[in-house]
């Protein structure tokens, strides 16, 4: 755990010999920030870990590490600091998983080796969607060209690999990847959907 979290000496603004009251205040602020950015941090971790159980575990470790290192943080950079702690914790968890040769997270040497779609579904239980969001997603999806819709549907909902999708659609893999890429970019740029997700 030596690499977990920024070392207090890394921060030039570390107060010299903080009194107990200041430290308590700083801890309270870090704790509040952890709660405030909880969803963002968990989504960030999910992008790295692809497993909800690992995400929950890593978030807890991030929370504890942040509290323990609260004295070293500059408040203006608090969010970035939390991301760094979360990333380091995620790396530590991945290394641990690799050592244990766990099946929770597949080795990512082969891009076609994906985790089980059944495991992927509902990986973010905390990420509860409103009907308004669902409707916006459906409308955004419908606005895409049909080819992009089909690739997204098969990859996201059916959990198929891009190679499988390319074989099914009798298309080159590059074409399928391009459609997926364009579709996701268009969805990201969809103003209404973006507005809802930002909320």
């Amino acid at each position: 755990m030596s690499q977990v979290g920024p070392h207090p000496s890394d921060d030039s603004d570390t107060p010299q010999g903080p009194n107990p009251t200041d430290f308590s205040d700083r801890r309270a602020e870090v704790e509040a920030a952890c709660l405030q950015f909880q969803t963002t941090l968990k989504l960030f971790l999910l992008g790295l870990l692809h497993n909800q159980h690992l995400v929950e575990d890593t978030y807890q470790r991030t929370f504890v590490q942040a509290i323990q290192s609260a004295s070293s943080v500059r408040l203006p950079t608090l969010r970035g600091w939390l991301f760094r702690i979360a990333l380091n914790e995620a790396r530590a968890v991945l290394r641990q998983q690799k050592r244990l040769n766990s099946t929770h997270y597949p080795p990512s040497d082969d891009p076609e080796l994906l985790s089980d779609p059944a495991d992927q579904s509902g990986t973010a239980e905390h990420f509860i969607l409103r009907e308004e969001t669902r409707q916006a997603v459906r409308e955004s999806l419908k606005s895409l060209p049909i080819e992009q819709q089909q690739v997204i549907h098969r990859r996201i909902y059916e959990g198929k690999t891009f190679a499988e999708i390319a074989a099914e659609m009798q298309l080159p893999l590059g074409t399928v990847l391009t459609w997926m890429r364009r579709g996701l970019i268009k969805l990201r740029e969809d103003r209404k959907l973006r507005q809802i997700l930002d909320e």
């Binding site: 999910l46 992008g47 790295l48 991301f83 891009p111 994906l114 969001t133 819709q149 909902y157 990201r188």
Partner: protein, 170 residues
Amino acid sequence: MTESDFSTSDVSWLLARCALGELTADQQARLEDQLLHDEQLCLQLAETVALVETLRQTPLASQPTRRVSAALISVRSFAAVAAVLALLVLPAALSRTVQPDVLHDAVTFSSMLQTEPAESRSSETDMWAAADLPEPPDWLLTALDLDEQSGDSDSSPAAPVIDDEEEALF
């Protein structure tokens, strides 16, 4: 597409592949190194994961199929209606030029055939008829043949049987 647009979409695609778990170990390690020093990139990754998760948790009724746009439907509908109308109107339009004559001929022929007994026709009448009347249409001849056949086989003929010679004159 400018270079900056391309690089932006490139990063977006890299993050999307990360969110989907498609990166190789090397790619993942390189991205993590970038994430370590780029808070905005971390936020973008969180947003991308949010998008993927949103898609994942939005059930769709069925797999999308090739849709036909409303404009295309209307064009196809118009073409189908036009074709049907053309089939209906064209024969009528073509026959309209001769229809009055045909009707006139039909009435003339039918009245002659029904009111004039065969034995009463003189050769002069036949000659007059042949000279001044046009050829009867085939459908009328066929109808008359059928009528005669039904009259032969049936005891109650379609055309009234005229027994009275006086009435026959009218």
